[in-house]
């Protein structure tokens, strides 16, 4: 029965992928990515990878769809033109796929318990982690303790990604509702009523339901954070779920409202705090005479207790950073002012409608370096030859 379900889900996954590839409407395609991630998470569950399925569920269905749609709202939501089958690409793909399939012929069978993968290391974790760490969830034990440095690096990547999104898109936020005073201390009723009710009018039912549900979602996030030692869950999942709660708030009440309550300037700091908690635990372990992220030294008489404390703190750090990064990514995308420039399209002979003339061309750096400061000044002032007489 399990095999049958797995096969059917794989077929569904492939069908979704192919439909997605053929879909020109990017809006529909982003919905298909949502379905794709739902199927793949079901597949993870059927293959017993509960924690992976948990993460995919939290990330794929919610945040990933939201980000895709946010991008589409800032660009176009239809591919510009029909592209015929690209034969070179198809050749590359078929060759690569053929080589890979030839390679799989030497792989161990699906589900073979004697495969190389299930060798020394996996057996060590399965046999010993209960005695050494004492948490029921082996994945959490490995994630936060045995491979703690690895997870630290992954968290660093998430942090850097959040920073990069801020650097790329953070500059041009659309203004907060202008009302004179600083937005933080303003009473909600003092704002212009028409603006306030812009979409409250639109969806009263959704708004009421979201109001009721939000606290429970946050509660559930904390439950996942704390329960990660005993069942599927942990810092990554909890962080994403918490961020989902804030995204729900942003979707229903508007991103400006979200930014007003959770200012990105504060989130930027929180983002770093989580990473510092994680690293700090490791440094404290070193100060107590152990190795980086070796939690046993916290309670020398009973090392497994130390592991519990260490894993709790580390997961807390992960949760804080992940949730802050996800909220900040959403807020940055959602408050970005859309570009008003019309879309440039190619006609049948691959010619653009806009012509690039020499005046539009920004100077290449060497040329810019060769120009004198007076020249640049003159260009800034009037750009005529007469202005070039200005003394430098």
């Amino acid at each position: 029965m399990e095999t049958a379900i797995t096969v059917v889900l794989f077929v569904l996954l492939l069908a979704t992928a192919i439909i997605l590839g053929r879909q020109r409407n990017l809006f529909a395609a982003s919905m298909l990515t949502g379905i794709f991630s739902l199927v793949s998470a079901g597949l993870f569950t059927v293959m017993e990878a509960v924690d992976v399925a948990f993460t995919e569920a939290a990330v794929g269905a919610g945040i990933s769809t939201v980000l895709m749609l946010a991008t589409l709202s800032l660009t176009e939501d239809v591919e510009a033109r029909e592209k015929k089958i690209s034969w070179p690409a198809l050749a590359v793909v078929v060759l690569t796929g053929g080589a890979l399939i030839y390679g799989t012929l030497d792989m161990p069978n699906f589900g073979d318990p004697h495969a190389v993968v299930h060798g020394e290391i996996a057996r060590y974790y399965i046999d010993r982690s209960w005695d050494e760490i004492g948490l029921p969830n082996m994945v959490t034990s490995i994630l936060a303790s045995y491979r703690g440095s690895d997870t630290f690096g992954e968290l660093g990547v998430v942090f850097v990604a959040g920073t990069s999104v801020l650097l790329l898109l953070g500059g041009r936020r659309s203004e907060l509702p202008a009302s004179g005073e600083s937005p933080g201390h303003e009473r909600p009723s003092s704002r212009p009523p028409g603006k306030r009710h812009a979409h409250v009018r639109e969806m009263p039912v959704v708004r009421t339901v979201a109001k009721v549900m939000l606290p429970y979602i946050v509660l559930f996030a904390f439950y996942v954070q704390a329960h990660g030692d005993f069942g599927p869950g942990g810092g990554f999942q909890a962080g994403v779920i918490l961020a989902t709660a804030f995204i729900l708030f942003g979707l229903v009440f508007g991103p400006q409202e979200l930014v007003r309550h959770v200012p990105p300037e504060r989130l930027e700091r929180i983002m770093a705090v989580g990473l510092m908690i994680y690293g700090g635990v490791g440094v404290v372990a070193m100060l107590l005479g152990g190795q980086f992220l070796a939690y046993g030294v916290f309670t020398p008489s009973h090392p497994s207790h130390g592991h519990h404390y260490g894993i709790f703190m580390v997961e807390l750090g992960v949760g804080i950073t992940v949730s802050a990064v996800m909220i900040i990514i959403y807020a940055t995308f959602a408050t970005r002012r859309p570009s008003l420039a019309p879309q440039v399209v190619l006609d049948a002979e691959d010619r653009c409608e806009t012509e690039v003339s020499a005046d539009d061309v920004p100077l290449v750096p060497e040329e810019r370096a060769l120009r004198s400061g007076a020249d640049l000044l003159a260009e800034g002032a009037a750009g005529t030859d007469a202005a070039s007489e200005v003394p430098s």
Partner: protein
């Protein structure tokens, strides 16, 4: 000769190739990123299906009165750990990619690869033409030693 029972890898490879085809052949950047996330999921699927053990259960100890039940076959937890973090990192990096697409759309007025390439090509052409023109002008001016305009001082 009997074929090995590796259909899961075949499914993963086909999935991966669909993603790769989208990345190579589709001109739209958002579509490319969608293909990239297909690719990513297929890699994750590859690892997770490697960790599967027939008859095994999820890698969470089954507890009987506070002690793990003996002789239970568990799935391999190591791929799960690796892939769990990979998913979160994947969405974060996808967000960076989407941010780049937004910036490209703002700078070029299009998020299609061929339009961007065409615009780039023209820009390089125009810049080359401009540079050639400037070089010709400066040659002419230094040869005749006519007026020394401010814009030509640096060549003198």
């Amino acid at each position: 000769m009997t074929l090995p029972n590796v259909w899961n890898y075949w499914a993963v490879v086909v999935l991966m190739m669909v993603g790769l085809y989208i990345v190579i052949a589709k001109p739209n950047y958002v579509k490319k990123l969608m293909g990239l996330s297909l690719f990513q999921v297929s890699v994750i699927m590859l690892y997770v299906s490697m960790g599967r053990v027939t008859g095994g259960t999820a890698p969470i100890y089954i507890l009987d009165d506070g002690a793990p039940r003996p002789f239970v076959l568990y799935t391999n937890p190591v791929p799960h750990v690796l892939m769990l973090t990979a998913i979160v990192v994947g969405i974060a990096t996808t967000a960076v990619g989407l941010a780049l697409v937004v910036r490209i759309r703002e700078a070029y007025g299009s998020s299609e690869e061929d339009v961007v390439a065409e615009l780039d090509r023209r820009e390089v052409e125009a810049a080359n033409a401009l540079a050639a023109q400037r070089a010709a002008e400066s040659d002419a001016s230094s040869a005749t030693a006519a007026h020394a305009g401010a814009s030509h001082e640096e060549h003198a």
